[in-house]
């Protein structure tokens, strides 16, 4: 009895295997298409039947856009790109690399993970064509983020920008204010607003269990603007001279206190700790408060019916720099393509993914809603159909930009998602002295992190 049952099951299994085989039979390669090649650029060898896997944390419809954007490349070269998305990417990549099943390319969203993968000895440095592209199209700080120990490994993919200030063009026009281009101008104008009885700056750091995070961005913006990328990166790494209690960070904290902790500009400071970050932006269109430092995603929290445009109810300007030695400071995030072999097909895909042609087709695949920016300076500004994206991309792709990663995301979780949040909440809620706040955060730094 059991044998006949087993036989049946085995039969079912074989049948399903056969069925799967028909499902995954590769589509016949149609041949090089001239129209597709025009969008891809020159210099690629045709390699029919090759598949290159790109492992990524991007999933769902967003991943479809990657496949759409790379369709021309496949039509032109015959190399199929398997965009393999997993929401378990961060955990899976080290397992696959350790287990000997490393992907051809990985789209890594954290510089720390690049260094970790390079340390395994399995990641390969970027080929010369990619090095040429990075030198030609990206600012030096982007190249440094993709480098480990002085060798360049990973070219950037997309980027996002946090260094924005929200304001209302209608309110600015009504009172004759202008968009400031220097830090000093910004505060001269804020003084004018204060003198006119207006609240110059909106603020809210309430975010449930994550209360405090918007204020970490304020400090990060000031640290990079005053002290530059080296101190900023030392600060993330908790190196001596860039502890929270050391001079550059204390100075930056005092600057933040003179800005967002200044009752002249924000009204009652302690309400910042109790206002949610979403509510902070609601005063912008009506002029309830005039400016808010926050990334572009906050547009979703604007009151219904608000027009987001350079002449509408809400728009952004770039948060100006402070120290002229730090050129175009921008804070944000990005992802990088890291290769695990130097097969001809992998190199060709890796090269394509570092070109402006790739960025342009990926931006087009995003459609009118936008949401995908590149720091590649070879991308024409007109490619962006979303004006907010175009504005952000202008600063990200500036060849002199000083780009830094969000520090609280890069610090150990005990600090970046813990002591810094609670310390800053205490700072704004109770006006705790800067030195006390800094000392408390330093004391919480996990000793094993160095």
């Amino acid at each position: 009895m059991s044998i006949s049952k087993k036989g049946l099951l085995a039969g079912v299994a074989t049948a399903t295997i056969a069925l799967v085989a028909t499902f995954v039979a590769p589509a016949a390669y149609a041949g090089t298409s001239a129209a597709a090649c025009a969008n891809v650029g020159s210099g690629y060898a045709v390699q029919k039947g090759k598949t290159v896997e790109v492992f990524t944390s991007v999933v769902g419809d967003e991943l479809t856009r990657y496949a759409k954007a790379s369709a021309d490349f496949t039509a032109c070269t015959g190399i199929k790109i398997n965009w393999n998305g997993s929401d378990q990417f961060e955990a899976q990549l080290p397992v696959r690399v350790a287990g000997g099943t490393a992907p051809d390319l990985a789209l890594v969203p954290q510089p720390g993970l690049i260094a970790q993968m390079v340390a395994t000895g399995q990641a390969v440095p970027a080929p010369s064509a990619v090095v040429n592209n990075i030198n030609r199209y990206w600012s030096k700080s982007w190249r440094n983020l993709g480098s480990v120990g002085g060798r360049f490994y990973a070219a950037p993919n997309s980027a996002n920008l946090k260094s924005l200030v929200w304001y209302s063009p209608k309110q600015f026009a009504k009172y004759g204010y202008t968009v400031p281009t220097t830090w000093a101008d910004m505060f001269t104008q804020s003084d004018k607003m204060a003198a006119a009885g207006q609240t110059a700056w909106c603020g809210g750091i309430g975010s449930g269990g994550a209360t405090g995070w918007p204020s970490t961005d304020w400090l990060e913006e000031v640290v990079v603007r005053e002290a530059g990328a080296t101190v900023y990166n030392n600060w993330i790494a908790h190196k001596k001279g860039a502890y929270f209690s050391d001079a550059p960070i204390i100075h930056a904290m005092n600057t933040v206190w003179g800005w967002m902790g200044n009752s002249k500009y924000v009204g009652k400071v302690s309400t910042i700790a109790t206002t949610s970050f979403q509510d902070a932006v609601t005063g912008i269109p009506s002029g309830g408060c005039m400016q808010l430092q926050q990334a572009s995603f906050i547009a979703a929290s604007l009151p219904k019916g608000s027009v987001v445009s350079p002449t509408g109810d809400a728009w952004v300007y770039y948060l100006p720099g402070i120290n002229p030695a730090v050129t175009t400071p921008v804070e944000g995030g990005g992802e990088f393509y890291l290769a695990f072999n130097s097969n001809k097909a992998t190199v060709e895909v890796q090269t394509f993914l570092s070109t402006p042609q790739w960025a342009v087709s990926r931006i087009k695949a995003a459609g009118s809603n936008g949401g995908w920016l590149s720091a590649n300076s070879g991308v024409p500004a007109a490619t962006y159909s979303n004006p907010l994206d175009a504005l952000s991309a202008k600063y990200l792709s500036d060849s002199h930009s000083t780009f830094v990663f969000d520090a609280s995301d890069a610090m150990p979780a005990a600090i970046g998602n813990g002591a810094e949040w609670t310390g800053f909440t205490d700072w704004f809620a109770n006006g705790t002295p800067v030195k006390t706040v800094a000392a408390k955060i330093d004391a919480a730094w996990p000793s094993a992190s160095n």
Partner: protein
């Protein structure tokens, strides 16, 4: 009065004490209440999967009964080649992969474990107890510890210095490469459970068969297998649910292609990078639980039925 009762002949335990306890009206009501409460989330999931995204975010799932406004959109989005799900050919290839992975990964360990359990229980050989305890002890090893070394074995083999002990098996990213880990991880528990069951079969049966001239294989095939059906079926359910619901082993050993990935690897990603298509999770989750439900209901009678009852007087 009470003294009198106590002095009566010692009372034997009520043979059906359990049945009486669970058969009472109060117990029935309690069981029904628990069952209903435990089913409500599933019912909510089921009804939600037929609602439009805007309705789901506006009102609770029970509103479907008040204002029926059904849609199959969530189902067509996951089965068709929609751009919404991010899966070019829909989830059907992955459903088939799940079957191709699960069915052999259930048959292999059950077959091996039944034979091993009989052998360890009824074939006395030197060290058989040690082998059994060794296998039993293997259950202590957490599979998370074994994942990466096993993957290394598949891709690179085992070497000491330049001496190759095991050559690279090259089965990672193939179906064999996931059947083998599932079988390995299932065997200790399967052998242990089946050994306990098979060793409790009456010795008289085996001896009678032996006297009649039956070989070990005959005894196994004619007596042990038919009598072990409840235990085998019970373990089949466990193993099927474990493999079908598995994500960790599949993530580690499959290659991330449409040709091999099981459904679970794709499910979590359906909602999208920013979770904007969470409504697809309702329909896909229901598709996933459908199969284990069918397996459970078709085999569940073995949980309660004792085949042995009546076979030995």
């Amino acid at each position: 009065m009470s003294l009198l009762t106590r002095n009566k002949a010692p009372k034997l335990a009520e043979p059906n004490a359990g049945r009486k306890l669970f058969g009472s009206r109060g117990a029935t009501i309690t069981v029904w209440i628990i069952a209903i409460f435990w089913t409500i989330p599933t019912l909510g999931l089921f009804t939600t999967s037929f609602r439009r995204k805007s309705d789901i975010s506006a009102t609770g799932w029970w509103n479907l009964f008040i204002h029926p406004h059904l849609t199959l959109g969530n189902y067509s989005a996951i089965f068709s080649s929609s751009t919404v799900s991010g899966i070019p050919n829909g989830i059907m290839p992955y459903v088939i992969n799940s079957f191709v992975i699960t069915i052999p990964a259930v048959i292999f360990p059950i077959t091996l474990a039944t034979m091993a359990a009989y052998c360890l229980a009824w074939v006395k050989f030197r060290g058989s107890d040690a082998v059994f305890y060794g296998i039993f002890a293997l259950q202590i090893v957490p599979i998370q510890v074994a994942l990466v070394p096993l993957l290394n074995l598949f891709t690179g083999g085992v070497h000491i210095g330049s001496v190759t002990l095991v050559p690279a098996l090259h089965i990672a990213g193939k179906f064999l490469g996931i059947w083998v880990p599932h079988t390995m991880f299932a065997l200790p528990l399967a052998i242990y459970l089946l050994h306990n069951f098979i060793s409790s079969l009456p010795r008289d049966l085996m001896e009678a068969a032996n006297v009649d001239g039956a070989s070990h294989f005959m005894i196994f095939r004619r007596i042990v297998l038919p009598l072990s059906v409840p235990a085998i079926a019970a373990f089949t359910i466990f193993q099927f649910l474990w493999v079908w619901n598995d994500l960790l082993v599949a993530l580690t050993f499959t290659g991330g292609t449409e040709g091999i990935d099981p459904l679970n690897n794709k499910l979590a990603g359906l909602a999208g990078t920013w979770g904007s298509h969470w409504e697809l999770l309702t329909s896909s989750a229901f598709v996933t639980i459908l199969v284990p439900l069918v397996v459970f209901f078709s085999l569940q009678r073995y949980f309660v039925r004792g085949l042995l009852a009546g076979s030995v007087k």
